[in-house]
Amino acid sequence: MHSGLLNLIVKEAKDLLRDPKVLVGMVLMPLLLFPIMGSAISISMQSAQEQARYVKICIMDLDERTLSQTLVEVLANNRNITVIPIEKRPLDEAVAETERLNGTALIILEQGFSQNLTAMNRGGVTAYALIKRLDVSESNKMSVLNSILRLASTAATALILEQAAPTADPSVVTNPISISYQTIYREKLVSMNPSAIIGIVISQGTTLPVIVMVIFIFAMQIAATSIAVEKEQRALETLLTLPVNRVSILGSKLIASAVIAGAGSVAYIIGFRYYMESFMTQLPPTVDLASLGLIPPPTYYVLLGLVIFIALTSALSIAILLAVFAEDVRGAQSLVGYLTIPILVPGLFLMFTDIATLPMAVQVVLYAIPFTYPVLSAQAGLSGDFNIMLISIAYLTIFTVVVLYFAGRVFATEKILTARFSLRRRR
């Protein structure tokens, strides 16, 4: 009798890889998803900057004195913003003119503006914002309006100083403190605002769990559907009467699923690396993310790939086991659907919390769930803690071996054909 294992693996791999759902879901999705996400972030950032450049602000001088006229001139001559002076007219006509010019806001320098400044009082300015939509791009435009108002305030200060203290440097008076950010991250000093670094880490920390959850859930549904279809169509029944060891049948399914999982993991890592690199484009060229450990070394990707591969293999084994007990394909998909809970819960916890800060009971539950480890490893590895990654690999390997042992026992008995587990209420 031939072992037939290789024969079974080749068939399984062919059947799975030729399934468009598997190819798209497991391989193409992570390859495309990450770069698309990275590009989306880059494009939206660039787009926001572009939008700010094309924002038009109208300005009307009701005061028409030297200081107010000088202020209008200063704002209108600024190269970074488009400020359009309009003639003095009634308010409703001024607003209409702003709308006609596709302006975002109308700034009015009130009567007495110059006189108040000369007397060291505050000059009146009214800003009319023309909100067209309630979305993010409109919000960006309003922030441009605020920037212009701040610029106006700075310019007005300079005008006051010219009169009150001609020898003083207006830029020093308006901004007397010179701030130099020095951030120490993982024992390395970098001249960078700490909020920028934290922003990157938070962004990575929330993206990883989502992607891991999506891939796991998809892979388990594929494996469960595959075995359930084979059982429903009685192809499994035929296989079990062939001169081949039943453990080989299980082994071939797991190996083929693991090959698919491996391809998925490689695609995931390639896509994720591309995604990480997209952050580089958003920062000044002087910032070296790699030196801060925010662009991880190759070891990180190798270990992360291994963690995902083993976790995915155990996930697929559980999915196959559950599907074997299901009555039909829909039943298998429903049963495996319940596994989304232990996949989603650790991901959601780790997205927003450090596991060490959680109550002990919750920590124990999370550490027991194998699907906690891909996310935990990914985050720990980014912080340079490779020990967590190694512990994850050890735990996942033990868990997977136990699952495989039970799966082997089920395949060796007639339970594989006769066992039925239904989620529907028995009548």
Partner: protein, 242 residues
């Protein structure tokens, strides 16, 4: 030595008794039919003979090999065609046959001969190169029957071989079974609801009802014994008496 020898076979699924003391013998090169209504125990009997499930009590032997103790030897002697079975949708007919041949030989030439044989039995010709998801129900059944017979098993176990097929495909399959078994010394045990088919194919028939064999004999013997013009009439009379 008998191709199949079942002694006092009993099978229970929880509180449901599917088979109760079933005894029968199938000679070598014989086509033996099991007929009976749904739930009578036909498929359970075939599944025990095919080593898929174990009897609760009693024994079944294939050419002297016990289906439980010598299951791995038995699997090398038999070929099983489940009722309404399917193939793998994303592989072609020829790939499916090649995959199945791979369990019986490592020799490419021998495997090639098996596939040629299957091609002849199925009559699918060039369509064998297409993925099985493009096959009609009849074509798929022809492919699966050819797979079951191409390895020249000592015993072919066929569960409703023509179930749900149109006249043309059913005719092709019946002729293939008859021709092939006579040429290659294959024994067959099959189940069917189609009494005409059983009468046409089987050397001997067992009538099974409520998990028990209620009568057995050649189609002519059974018709004569129950004063019936065909097996269907004979079965109805036996089933009512039982």
């Amino acid at each position: 030595m008998y191709a199949v020898e079942a002694e006092d076979l009993t099978k229970s699924f929880g509180s449901v008794v599917a088979l109760s003391g079933v005894n029968f013998k199938v000679d070598q090169r014989e086509i033996y039919g099991l007929i009976g209504p749904n739930g009578a125990g036909k498929t359970t009997t075939l599944r025990i003979v095919a080593t898929l499930i174990k009897p609760t009590s009693g024994t079944a032997r294939i050419l002297g090999n016990d289906v439980v103790r010598d299951a791995s030897i038995v699997r090398g002697l038999i070929s099983y065609l489940p009722e309404e079975a399917g193939a793998y949708k994303n592989i072609s007919g020829i790939e499916y046959l090649n995959f199945m041949a791979g369990f019986y030989t490592k020799d490419q030439k021998e495997a090639g001969e098996m596939i040629q044989e299957a091609s002849r039995i199925s009559g699918l010709a060039e369509r064998l190169r297409d993925k099985t998801k493009t096959y009609s129900k009849g074509m798929l059944r022809r492919l699966l029957l050819s797979r079951a017979l191409m390895i020249r098993p000592k015993l072919a176990i066929l569960d409703e071989p023509t179930g749900g097929l149109d006249v043309v495909h059913a005719h092709h399959i019946r002729n293939s079974i008859r021709e092939y078994t006579k040429i290659h010394d294959v024994s067959v045990i099959l189940s069917s609801h189609n009494m005409l088919e059983v009468e046409f194919l089987c050397d001997r028939v067992a009538m099974i009802n409520a998990g028990k064999i209620v009568d057995e004999g050649t189609p002519d013997e059974l018709k004569k014994k129950h004063g019936a013009s065909n097996l269907e009439e004979a079965f109805v009379k036996v089933a009512h008496v039982a």
